[in-house]
Each structure stands twice: as structure tokens, then as C-alpha cells.
Symmetry: C2
Subunit: 454 residues, 2 copies
């Protein structure tokens, strides 16, 4: 049945392409209210295709959400395992329009690439999964139960799907989760995300006198909350990039030996990064290679600071207040809540006489670790090898993907976080493009993945 499904996929590439191009015509821009109807139309369009595959679909308006969650279930045999595939049907706004070589919602194929907003992020990915399911169906499969959860709020950091997952955790029981929203490494190798950093985001507010003071009159005795908040931020992280919060590193788990091998980079990688950032040098913990500093080391960065007089020229005010935004990127097994608890008294201890510094937690996301030492990862890597002729790299991301945490915490299944987009696919940018070769091979990879898991 596997071979027949693969054969069908190979014979029908033009049909697969047509399906993708049709979805790419829908301007499902979740951020723009004027596209709300298009976003919903995309959900309906997908639901109809899924129904044609014999799936039971629901378009769920979750309280608190702006766009619906599309759920589709195909139960072939309750005794077989279930694979849940995650994706999103919403896209980023296409602006700036003048930089597009062809209109963002009129997909065009040039040199084996389809150019359109959403082509790589995420329609090419989830459409490949639908096609894989379709060819498996035609070949008498699939060999396991399949569930799709495709959301419409990924690009606006919506919470509808997370809420839905936690509220329906029991009925959404699954054996495997494929978080299918990513792509290949810079070296064009398939990639499995084995971990993501979490975050603790705080706002600091320092208060001194109860009104702004004149620095001529009071400079020398007046508490200056701007100076003090600068001092707090300076002391939170040493010159070497080491965070000074007591116990901050207590639960940092080093990456696995396989991860470290997989993360190996040539010596010029730091130089590449430096150029990418347009910076004159890298910062941070010199004892760790750059890739570890970004993927498996926690950090602290200030994101905003506002206090006093910031117009043109001179004003000699000692401001009454100062505000800053600071976040810590956290790694497994650091706990944002525990660190927030240590941060508050520590910040207080860094203040100076007459200045009170308040810490407000604006957001947290736990770090994520799914590893590659499980069956789903092994099967995914074999499928990538067979379809692309390439080995899979283990990678992490320095950023957070909250939905991966939601899946892990709500469903607790073996998880693969991966995707098909080629490295130069330019998601979120003008002229987003998706490789049709990756699409076709990706359909085969996904067929192999389903058969391998069964």
C-alpha cells in the first residue's frame, strides 16, 4: 500500500500543484479585520477538501478567539495509533506590496518555485499533508488514524487552539503529534526541532521623588530612578553575558550528545551570524559556541526603556519615574515562575536609597524539549532520508512556539516539530516562495511517515 501511495503521489504532481495554488489564492490574512471573511473561507475550503477524504470536520469558534480552529478526524481503526498534524491556514499581511514581483495572492510558478504569500508558511506544509493523506486513501490507507488541527491565529499569536487543546485534551488523545510548520536548515537539510527556549517577560518600573525635580537644585541628594533602573539592568547581566539572578542556572540542562554533534558548525559560523545581524561583533558567553548561546543557553535582554526628557536638546530634569521592559529566554528545565519569584527580591536588592523598583510579569512561556530519542523522530528521519536522500539535523530554536507547549502539556504524545520549507523561502517577507520539489518529496515523506508510524 505504501508503494502504491507513493506511485500515486508521483503520477499526480500536477494535480497536487493545482490544489496548493488554489489555496494560495485565498488572502487569509489573520491580522487584518477586512480579511476576516477570507480567513474563514480558507477554513471552509480546507474543511470541504477534508470531507471529500472522508474526514469528519468541525469549524470551531473558540471563546476568546478571533478566527476558528479547523479540526478534522479520520478514524480508520480504533485499535491503530493516531497521528495529529498541526498547521495554520492564516498568513502574514503581504505588505509592502510594491516589493512583490507578482501579486501575493496570485500564485505564479517560476524556476520550480511557487511565489505567493503563505506558500511556505504554512500552506505548502499542510497541503502536502492533505495530499499525502489523499494518495494514501486512494491506495487503501492510511494505515493509522489521522487528525488535523489547523488554526487561523498563528500569525497573530492567538490563543484559540491552545484553549481548545486544553479543554478537549481527553477526546484529542493521540499517539503522535506532528507540528508541521517549519523548514530545512540553512544548509538545506531536513530538521527536527528538539527544543525551544521559553521566556519570562517583565516590565520594571522605578519610582523616586513624587514629582520631577530640577537637577541643579537637587542633584546630589535626589533619588534618580533613571540612574537606578539603568543600574538594575546593568547588574542583572554581567559584561560576559552571564545572568546574575541567584539560582538562575540551577536547572539548565545541557544539550544531548547527538544534539551537540548535530549543531556542529564551521569556525566561520560566528562571522556569518555577525554579518546576518549587521553587527561589529557577537556578544555573550564566550565559553559557549554561538549556536549554544542561541539554542541551549538562557539569556537576558532589555527590549525597551523610557524615562525623562527624550526630545531635542537639553532639559535638566531628574525624572520621578523610569520604565523598562526586560525578558529572559529560558531553556529546559528552567521554570519561568520560579525565576520570577527570585527576580523580585533580587531587583529590590539592586535598587538605591529612595528608589522603589516594581517588577510586573507580562508573560511567561515554559521552555520546550521533545528530544529525538523516540519512535516518531526515528520514523520522521527515515522518511526524510528516503524522500530527500538527506540526513536530518537536530536543531533547536532560540524563540518560543507556544502551541508546541500546548500540545505537549495537553496531549503528552511523542512529538515531531518539523516542516518542508526550503531555507530561502522568505516567510513573512515579500516574494515568499516554496519549492515544488520540496512539496513533491514532502508528500512522499509524509506518506512514508504515516506508514512508518502505523
Amino acid at each position: 500500500m505504501l508503494d502504491e501511495a507513493l506511485e500515486l503521489a508521483r503520477r499526480n504532481v500536477e494535480r497536487s500543484d493545482r490544489d496548493l495554488l488554489e489555496e494560495l489564492c485565498i488572502p487569509s490574512v489573520s491580522a487584518l479585520p477586512e480579511h476576516a471573511a477570507d480567513v474563514r473561507r480558507n477554513a471552509t475550503w480546507l474543511a470541504e477538501r477534508m470531507q471529500r477524504l472522508g474526514m469528519r470536520t468541525q469549524i470551531v469558534d473558540v471563546p476568546g478567539g478571533r478566527h476558528p480552529v479547523l479540526r478534522a478526524d479520520l478514524e480508520v481503526d480504533p485499535s491503530r495509533p493516531t497521528l495529529t498534524v498541526y498547521g495554520h491556514y492564516d498568513v502574514q499581511p503581504p505588505e509592502p506590496l510594491e516589493l512583490w514581483e507578482s501579486p501575493p495572492f496570485e500564485p505564479v510558478v517560476r524556476d520550480g518555485l511557487v511565489f505567493a504569500r503563505g506558500s511556505s508558511d504554512n500552506k505548502g506544509n499542510h497541503m502536502a499533508a492533505l495530499e499525502a493523506l489523499e494518495y494514501s486513501r486512494m491506495a487503501g490507507g492510511p494505515p493509522l488514524n489521522i487528525r488535523f488541527l489547523i488554526e487561523g491565529e498563528e500569525e497573530i499569536s492567538g490563543t484559540a487552539l491552545g484553549t481548545y487543546l486544553r479543554q478537549h485534551a481527553e477526546e484529542l488523545h493521540t499517539d503522535y503529534v506532528l507540528v508541521w510548520d517549519g523548514g530545512f536548515t540553512e544548509e538545506e537539510e531536513p530538521a527536527l526541532h528538539t527544543g525551544l527556549r521559553g521566556i519570562l517577560y517583565v516590565e520594571l518600573e522605578a519610582k523616586g521623588a513624587d514629582h520631577d525635580l530640577h537637577s541643579g537644585t537637587f542633584g546630589g541628594v535626589a533619588p534618580n530612578p533613571l540612574n537606578t533602573l539603568a543600574r538594575v539592568i546593568a547588574e542583572l547581566k554581567g559584561r560576559s553575558g552571564h545572568v546574575t539572578i541567584p539560582g538562575f542556572y540551577d536547572h539548565v540542562r545541557p544539550p544531548s550528545a547527538e544534539e551537540l554533534r548535530s549543531w556542529d558548525r564551521p569556525p566561520e559560523y560566528g562571522e556569518t551570524l555577525r554579518r546576518l545581524m549587521g553587527a561589529s561583533a557577537l556578544e555573550g558567553e564566550a565559553e559557549f559556541p554561538p549556536i549554544q548561546r542561541m539554542w541551549s543557553r538562557p539569556t537576558l535582554d532589555a527590549h525597551g526603556f523610557l524615562s525623562g526628557f527624550v526630545g531635542e536638546g537639553e532639559k535638566t530634569v531628574i525624572p520621578a519615574r523610569a520604565m523598562a521592559k526586560v525578558s529572559m529566554r529560558l531553556v529546559p528545565d528552567q521554570d519561568p515562575d520560579a525565576i520570577a519569584e527570585r527576580l523580585v527580591p533580587y531587583v529590590r536588592s539592586l535598587s538605591t536609597p529612595g528608589v522603589e523598583v516594581e517588577v510586573r510579569v507580562l508573560g511567561t512561556c515554559r521552555p520546550f524539549l521533545c528530544g529525538a530519542d523516540h519512535r516518531a523522530a526515528t520514523v520522521a528521519r527515515e522518511a526524510f532520508r528516503a524522500a530527500f536522500g538527506k540526513e536530518t539535523r537536530l536543531v533547536r530554536s532560540g524563540g518560543s512556539i507556544p502551541v508546541a507547549i500546548d500540545f505537549q502539556e495537553a496531549l503528552g504524545a511523542q512529538m515531531v516539530v518539523s516542516g518542508l520549507a526550503q531555507a530561502d523561502s522568505r516567510p513573512h517577507s515579500p516574494n515568499e516562495r516554496f519549492s515544488l520539489d520540496h512539496y513533491h518529496r514532502g508528500i512522499e515523506m509524509l506518506i512514508r511517515f504515516m506508514y512508518g508510524l502505523a
Copy 2:
């Protein structure tokens, strides 16, 4: 002649009051373009009065100035000394109008106080000097040559008078200068300003990557100019209030023994200051009493800081730039230019890899020291004692009065910096008021001062 002049002053208090009230009706608000004609009218009004006293007047439009300098000369005898009296005929805007108990430019006398914008700052002061000259004239004096330099840009930090002084230094030769724009101490004692702090005001700009970066992706290797600028500001001044710029304190001259005696304050003075600022504690160099920290110790304060995302909520940006404004209050004999030269490499040394911090000098003013160990100060104190029955305190000010430096540097004469406003005169605030008792005694004091100097 002195006694006759004093007698005339005493007999004519109502006439002196009328003169003051007439000037207070002119809304000479230098900051507001719609009052430009009123400002000039005030200069003309004063010039006419001075001409009636036999003075030669010039209304000088100095290139680069917004409002004219009024100069008036009365040469009684070239072999006698010359006294130059400084004042300003412009006033602060009266807003907020709704807080005034009577209209700001319709002077009203209640309980021995005249309420009007400009009553204490500075019309009451310079009108007392005009009246003193008038009564001296009537009594056959004055006994020395008198020059008035009354500017119209004091409240907008204009440079016209400073420019004029330096360009005409030779013809403006004088033996004594009375900078007559101040008032009594909080304890209602006459005060001589023996020193003023100077200032070095800089803007710092820190630059990291050439564009904003995502802290998830690059946090750990990206230079963060916000963190670095916070570090620079934190390191410029220790927790104890001590400035760390190399050589910063090299030329700090301690106050004189008489100044220290004059500055003596009861132990609860710190508590009074704390309440005045609305702060929970004083900051600064604990080894110096608060009054020295404000008057004779240099300081460093940040006045503004802007970088990155300062709106509501979270944004995980590593900003490409950060800007801060910082000033140092300097004391005799610190040199702002020499300190700026040391600051630049020192700031650079405090930076971190990948961040460049630029220092731009926005303004400087040298510290000022005129002391009280000269004839003009002695005569002023005797005159205050005779007219008010009070001893004079030596004080300094933590702020800068650039025109005092201009006078000192251009003319090099013995200088008295003082004034008549009572402590609760509320300059710059609604319901500004001036004590008519201070006005009348002030006229006598000024007559005695002129006769004493001759």
C-alpha cells in the same frame, strides 16, 4: 546725601509702589511669540523711565537674540567707580491661568504683598534699583557711575546679553557688578551667592546591529545597545553617588570656612529636603552633608533614556539603538571641557563587544565662584544689615546662572549675586507675589549699597 536719599525713599513709598505696579501690567512673556511686542514695550517703558533719570539708553537688538538688551548709562564722574546692575524685564508664561487668584497682569496688593507675574522675578528687584537711583538723584547723587543691563531673554535662556557683554567688554568696563535676580533664604535672611555649579550636558547614543533583531533568534549573541547604555550610565556613578570618570574630582575646591559656617543646618534639614522632594530617602555621598552635596559637590544625573519598544505589552526586540541624556553638575575649579575630553574615552571603555557609544556634548557652563571676601560683598552685607536688621547668609546654588559667568569672564569685576524676593515668592508659579516691605527696605539697601561703594 545718603540720609536725604533714604528719607526721600521713605517718604515716597506709595510713588515707588505705583511705579512697580505699572510695570507689572506689561505681559512681557518672552517665551510666547504673541507677546513679542509686549516684551519690547517693557524695554521701551523702562528706557523712558531711565531717560527721565538722565541716563543714556540703548535698546540693542543683538544678532541671534529674540528680544533686545536694554542698556542705560549714567556717568556722574569718570574718576568715580562704576556699578553695573543686572536684571531682566521678561517674565515666565503665567499658565495655568485657572490657578491664579487674580489675573497675572493686573497687579493686586493684599496683606503687604503684590500679586502678579514678574513681581518677584525680576521686576520687583530691578524696579527697586531704579527707585534707589531716582531718590539718590533727587538727593544730589548718586555718588558713583551707574549702568543698567536689563535683558529680555532670561526666562528663555537666551544668549543675547552674553554675546553683547563679550563683544563690548572694553566699553562696559566696570568696578562692581550686582547680579540682582534672586532672593532671601528659606529662613528669610538676605543671601549672597558666592558660587554656582556649572554643567556638562551630553547625549549618549549606543549603536549595535544595523537593524532591530528578534531576541528569540539572536538573544545570546546579539549586541544589545540598550543593555550596554544602561551599563555605561550605571558605571558612571557608583552606588554611593561617587562619579567614576578618571580625574573627575581632581580640581574640586572645598568651600571656604565662612561658607561652611554659613551653610550650617539643623540635623532635621535632610528630613525637610526629603519632604520637599516627596522622596522616601536622600541619595548621594553620605560623607557630605546634603547642603554640600547640592552646592559644592559635583554630581551626575541621567535626564532621559529612550530605546526599543515602550508601548503596552510585550515585544521581544533587541533594539539597534539607544539614546540617553546625562549631565554632570560641576563645581569650582572643574573645567567642563577637560571633563568632556576624559568622558569620551572612558565611556568607550565601558561599552561591550559590538556596541559603539557616541558622546555628543550638548552644552557646557563653567562653575562660578565670586566669593564674599571683597569690598562689594562687604558693602552689600552692611547695606542689608542696615535696611533689614538681618545678617546675610552666604549661599550657593546647585544650578547654573550662565549670565553670571558671562559677566565674570567678560568684565572681571567684583560681583555680588543677590536679590530681594522673599522666600515664599513663588517665582514661575501661579500667584507669584512680592513683599512690599522687602521692596521698600530693598530700595534703602540699594541706596546704602551705592553710597557705600562710592
